[in-house]
């Protein structure tokens, strides 16, 4: 029981990363019928931007020019990096995808993969072929609840990702941009005739997805403080699986599937040798998709942005 609960805690943290990244896939897909295959690498870029911002803020703080407590540095790092990474997403959309708006989807998919490679090698050129370690902004405190170890970092990671998901939900439900996104997911053609500048809304969609990926990158850096230029690839693919599993376009589905993926991986590793983890975990996912090919909340032949 204790082992089960311990793994549950770990799975919640692990699933948070997948869920946050999957949201970006899902949002873009619902509007443009396009999987942004560069999204995993935007997660990586977000983590590196977070690294840069936190190093900068730490230096600023320790130089005495503007002394800040570490928790404030963390909050500012997350917010500022989300802001900066959203521009990466918007640039990717503007340069990579917008010219291909009416091209076959395969062209856009290939473009996405190429943008991913550009981001990876660009990072390699900028930062060199070495791993960097994310500064530890908060001291780990471990609480023991009935034999289960819970750290303050894990609690924070799960809470922040849930908070962001909730904020996204509210954004889509309550703002005019969110309303436009939902409408564009149902029928793209009419939306501009309502006086809605669709390009702005699309750019905003990419911005939000990228900001969420950046948050995931920083949270990941806090939990596993080693960053490398290729960290986004596997995470990107797995979050993509979560987006499919959740039902393309479904916010709730992407979140749930992200956590489910985390649970599956962690619990498979608990029972089976961890070298078989991905094989078994993804066989289970494949089995689920065999019976629910449209995912949890997907509809046949459609991908609508839903709450």
């Amino acid at each position: 029981m204790v082992i089960f609960l311990q793994n549950l805690v770990n799975a919640l943290q692990w699933g948070s990363f997948y869920a946050l990244i999957a949201l970006g896939y899902s949002m873009v897909y619902s509007i443009l019928m396009l999987f942004n295959f560069a999204h995993g690498d935007i997660f990586m870029v977000g983590a590196y931007i977070g690294f840069g911002v936190s190093i900068g803020l730490l230096a600023l703080s320790s130089s005495g020019a503007l002394a800040m407590p570490n928790w404030l540095i963390l909050v500012l790092t997350i917010l500022f990096s989300m802001f900066l990474t959203s521009f990466v997403g918007m640039i990717v959309e503007r340069v990579g995808y917008r010219p291909l708006r009416n091209a076959p989807r395969a062209s856009a998919a290939i473009t996405g993969l190429m943008i991913g490679i550009i981001l990876e090698t660009g990072n390699l050129i900028l930062m060199g072929a070495r791993r960097v370690s994310f500064p530890s902004l908060i001291q780990t405190t471990t609480y023991t609840v009935g034999g289960v170890f819970v750290t303050n970092k894990k609690i924070m990671i799960v809470l922040v990702s849930l908070l962001l998901t909730l904020a996204l939900h509210q954004f889509i439900r309550r703002t005019k941009w969110g309303m436009a996104m939902r409408a564009m997911a149902f029928d793209f053609a009419v939306v501009p005739l309502m006086g809605v500048p669709v390009n702005t809304v699309i750019a905003l969609t990419f911005a939000i997805g990228s900001a969420l990926a950046a948050a995931a990158g920083i949270l990941f850096g806090i939990a596993y403080p080693v960053l490398d230029p290729y960290m986004g690839i596997l995470f990107g693919w797995k979050a993509f699986v979560a987006a499919i599993l959740g039902g393309r376009g479904s916010i709730l589905g992407a979140t749930l599937a992200g956590f489910l993926l985390g649970f599956t991986e962690i619990f498979v590793a608990m029972i089976f040798p961890s070298t078989l983890r991905d094989l078994i975990a993804y066989s289970i996912i494949l089995l689920i998709l065999t019976f629910r090919p449209h995912g949890f909340f997907g509809e046949p032949y459609s991908a609508r942005l839903r709450l």
Partner: protein, 256 residues
């Protein structure tokens, strides 16, 4: 001065001349009809005027101001609104949301308002909702305001589309086969709605319609289109008796 003018508008799809030298002048408060066999280019003309395609030649003027070449959301907010032949509704959104969307450019509250429900948001929402409900009332679908359109009968969906088009507060309304697929009862109702919208808003309306009875009853003047060109223009009586129109619809007598 005419509210909408179209001069010598032409457009090709590949090698096909879809619209050739189309000309139109509508005054505020006029209802014009556009008829013609399938593939004559009627819907293309709507797409060109509303900016879904930019016309290759010619000009579209709204109140004397050139609008062709502008992005469609600009043209829409300047006052040209339209409906579609095959209903393009947002199936999982409510009737009220459909109408609200038309107020997009007028919604001023941003993130803070949306998340914390500020007074500004409440005031704006109330105002927009009030206007939306008024419009729904006029369309006779106020009681359906919070229904998801997916569940509505076809006739009601048509009205939602009409309400959405009117909510942008247009000066010119382009109706693409508003009675398609309707039963006789719904037909009478939608004609009454078109008349009311016309009367209360003083709109200029351009109507594509296959049912000649509807065009003949609603329109003051009718253009007949065939192969992208206007082959006849006149009052309903003139059009009905024009041999070229009869030819276009029924084929030449000598064929059989």
């Amino acid at each position: 001065m005419p509210v909408l003018e179209v001069h010598k508008m032409s457009h090709n799809f590949g090698g096909l001349r879809a619209v050739n030298g189309y000309h139109l002048e509508i005054d505020a408060g006029q209802i014009r009809g556009l008829i013609g066999p399938n593939g004559a280019g009627k819907t293309t003309i709507f797409n060109l005027i509303s900016g879904i395609y930019a016309p290759m030649e010619g000009e579209v003027l709204l109140n004397g101001q050139k609008v062709n070449g502008l992005p469609s959301h600009r043209i829409a907010s300047m006052g040209i609104s339209r409906t579609f032949q095959n209903l393009l509704l947002w199936r999982h959104m409510t009737v009220l949301e459909h109408v609200k969307m038309a107020h997009y450019s007028r919604i001023r509250y941003g993130l803070v308002g949306a998340f914390f429900g500020t007074r500004k948001r409440r005031r704006e929402e109330e105002e927009i909702e009030g206007r939306a409900l008024e419009l729904l009332d006029m369309m006779g679908i106020r009681h359906l305001a919070n229904q998801v359109v997916l569940n509505l009968p076809y006739g009601a969906q048509r009205r939602v589309e009409m309400a959405r088009a009117l909510a942008t507060e247009p000066k010119v309304l382009l109706l693409d086969e508003p009675t398609a697929g309707m039963n006789p009862e719904e037909l009478v109702q939608i004609m009454e709605i078109i008349r009311r919208a016309h009367r209360e808003f003083g709109l200029a309306i351009l109507l594509i319609e296959h049912r000649l009875k509807v065009v003949m009853e609603l329109c003051e003047r009718i253009q007949t289109l065939n192969f992208g060109e206007v082959i006849a223009e006149g009052t309903p009586e003139e059009i009905q008796n024009d041999p070229k129109v009869i030819d276009a619809y029924l084929g030449k007598e000598s064929v059989i």
